[in-house]
Symmetry: C2
Subunit: 240 residues, 2 copies
């Protein structure tokens, strides 16, 4: 199980000792499910991992229900914060504006730029950092991965390292941002999830809001491809 | 009127040309009223300034009504985004938790640390940056000033410069964070407000939620002192 080197990649330079208390940003997707398990393992019995999901007015709000179920099954405390009014000002994205169609195709296609929600990750991380301060946690973890870098500026290493720096100076005591998947492909995350016994069927990736995964939007295409590349049976039901 | 050197201090290194379209973080307080007028002047007829206020569950929500009135009188478009659920997770502050008393005394006293809302400014700025992206603005301005530095880590120069850097990399096109009061005292802001003909009576500073300013909380003490130091008649009615 490749846990150690992955963590070392990002956590190697952390000051010690740090109580391993971590707020995990949980969307309800595959990546954050694997992340939750990983952080739960990393925190160990001395520390603790808790999940935070944010309703920012996303079209695919159903993902939060998946996060809730996943956390309940894993004994992970889960907080949802309802900020749907954000959807009214973070306009111009297919994720917050129902009049903009969700693009179909590959996750790294140029057409996926319409799925970018303006500054979403800075907003989500800043709320998570505030929650970590209030709950006396020293870490915030998020599931940004290498496949996100092409389209999403706020998933790139320079952005995450910058947010880590900001988290160290925004309050009296430093918080650190962890992004253990930053250099991993989604296929590698699937492999890690298998090792961590993640129930993939209890995760939601689709950008649409149908009863099952559409199979055509960028994140469905990426999800399906990741299982194929990892050589893992995909338990997801797709419409197409 | 000291506008030019103040702006130069912070804006001098900006790349040009930039359309002067700016989202101004407006709390309804004295500083943000002066900031709004300053940014309106700076934007000129070619650009535009718009205001953004955030309900983050603050006890002194009445300040947003003041922002609304001030903007309406000045012809400044004003958006309020209602995120009061934040108050439920950004706990431990007298500003979001009505069971914690608002401290009395000087604004720079150690006791004022209970007024710190965890990571408030990163959250507010990140939302403002997202709004700026959505509205095709290149700037976000906030009213952090030198008097804030003692108690509030998220008002210090290192924090604001860091947020400026993050705003340049979070999206495809860079946004810049402006903080023209960063090196000014509140008394200097009052003086600037006089020059800009700011109606100070239409601003609200008090951390309590009484019918008029309490006169005893840190921000009332700071407000009153600023008018005294500036040698300007204070139009504010204080309970004490």
């Amino acid at each position: 199980m490749p846990t150690a080197p992955i963590l070392k990649l990002v956590l190697g330079t952390l000051p010690t000792p740090h109580k391993r208390a971590v707020v995990v940003v949980a969307s309800g997707g595959l990546d954050s499910a694997v992340l939750l398990r990983l952080m739960q393992t990393w925190a160990g019995p001395e520390g603790h991992a808790r999940a935070l999901s944010i309703d920012y007015g996303q079209r695919h709000l159903r993902e939060i229900g998946y996060a809730h179920k996943f956390c309940a099954q894993g004994g992970i405390p889960h907080k949802v914060v309802y900020l749907s009014a954000l959807g009214g000002i973070l306009t111009g994205s297919s994720q917050t504006d129902p009049t903009i169609p969700v693009p179909e195709g590959h996750y790294e296609d140029e057409s996926m730029k319409t799925t970018v929600v303006p500054n979403r990750n800075m907003i989500i991380l800043s709320v998570a950092i505030g929650y970590a301060i209030a709950e006396d946690c020293s870490f915030v973890a998020c599931g940004a991965h290498a496949g996100d870098h092409a389209i999403y500026p706020d998933c790139r290493p320079s952005f995450l390292w910058g947010m880590d720096h900001m988290a160290t100076i925004c309050h009296y005591t430093p918080i650190h941002v962890l992004a253990p998947f930053l250099e991993l492909t989604k296929a590698q995350i699937v492999s890690l999830g298998v090792a961590l016994q993640v129930p993939f069927e209890d995760t939601w990736s689709c950008y649409n809001s149908g009863p099952i995964h559409c199979g055509k939007c960028g994140t469905c295409v990426e999800r399906r491809e990741a299982f194929e590349l990892a050589g893992v049976t995909d338990p997801t039901k797709y419409m197409q």
